[in-house]
Symmetry: C2
Subunit: 230 residues, 2 copies
């Protein structure tokens, strides 16, 4: 299973918010063996949202869209997703009931559009905030407020399942260029993927479907590199 994540918001594109929602979702999905093929941030504009959602819907098994849901004029994500799916928005009776029963809102007091999701979508309950989420045709719409997004994702998490990937990290206190021969030998010897991430030291990540092989590969490499702080 491979998914794409679309994060909506001018505040992300202006650098006033770091995209921690994307990192959180990627980590959760990775933990469930689901690969993320793209993470894309788009502005609060209906046409941009619709276009990217449509492109990714055609290429990935699911698309998770976060941010830009709610009652204000710059919350246009539901409009964008509805446009991508060729559906109108419609007030959802289940959402209205949640808002009345749990939120204590009277229907006539609610801002127009508060309970609107693409027609035919399954609403997702927001236990932390007001704005509902929605799922339709593999597109999952979640809030942008991190606590609301996380809570709502947990309710759909079982729908994202892939093959488990095992990982081990070996840290080497050597220049990355000095390690090339050993990394190549590692890849030849073991059926694993290898990523190399330089920083103060070099983090070498070994990943594969077979936990034993990943463990053996990590042990093999650990014996052959300089460990930090010895």
């Amino acid at each position: 299973m491979e998914v794409a994540i679309v994060t909506v918001g001018d505040e992300l594109l202006a650098g006033r918010t770091t995209n921690t929602n994307a990192a959180w979702l990627c980590e959760r999905l990775d933990g469930q063996g689901v690969a993320v093929g793209r993470v894309t941030t788009v502005p609060d504009r209906v046409a941009d949202i619709a276009r990217v959602v449509n492109e990714y819907r055609a290429e990935y098994d699911a698309v998770i869209v976060t941010g830009g849901i709610g009652p204000t004029h710059d919350d246009v994500t539901m409009d964008g997703v509805a446009a991508a799916l060729g559906r109108p928005l419609a007030e959802d009776e289940r959402v209205l009931e949640w808002l009345e029963e749990e939120g204590g809102y009277a229907r006539e007091e609610l801002t127009e559009g508060t309970a609107a999701i693409p027609k035919g979508a399954r609403p997702l309950h927001n236990r932390v905030g007001v704005a509902p989420g929605a799922v339709l045709e593999g597109v999952y719409v979640l809030p942008g407020v991190p606590s609301e997004m996380r809570g709502m994702f947990e309710t759909v998490a079982p729908e994202f399942r892939g093959e488990a990937v095992h990982r081990e990290v070996v840290v080497a206190d050597e220049p990355e260029s000095a390690l090339l021969d050993r990394l190549e030998a590692l890849r030849e010897r073991f059926d694993v993927g290898v990523g190399s991430y330089p920083g103060e030291s070099v983090r070498i990540e070994i990943r594969g479907a077979d936990e034993t092989v990943v463990g053996e590969a990590a042990a093999w490499l650990t014996e052959r590199v300089e460990s930090p702080q010895r």
Copy 2:
């Protein structure tokens, strides 16, 4: 001027790294009046990098690509960008000279490809690390290590210039839905953009090209909302 940012790296898509490079670049560009239209993270795969770079090159004034440059097998960004631009990679004499003179590397010791950039590109000096950056046809390739990326961006920052945007933030200690009428009145009365970001309080951002108008709009709104902690 509107640009797109492409961040390359499996580690980002697996949620093991938060994309602070994107936030930093967005903030710097915003400060120079340059809009960012997309931020997209792609895997360490040549075809994915080439495809997204090509798509954004056609749509934006410039594309900034970070991450995945260096000597290891998973550093394929230069290959992806070269493919997008229809050029081969070639060792660059200026880069070899930097590495010899400042890095103290002998040419024959350097890993093959260390000095390779797309043929015809302008190399960008990496004063913090080894891997060079490159600029060609509006595509800027920068390292993924944050200190290297930041240092290198500063050398090209003067090439990114847009119209200054002024911003003021008003914080309201009220539910977002209660503020809708006042936000609408604000937008009608003043020639400004308005963003509303709920959290513990609601952050309302007012932006516009005219600093005086933005200031007047912020003052008008401040008088009409509940400020926190009064």
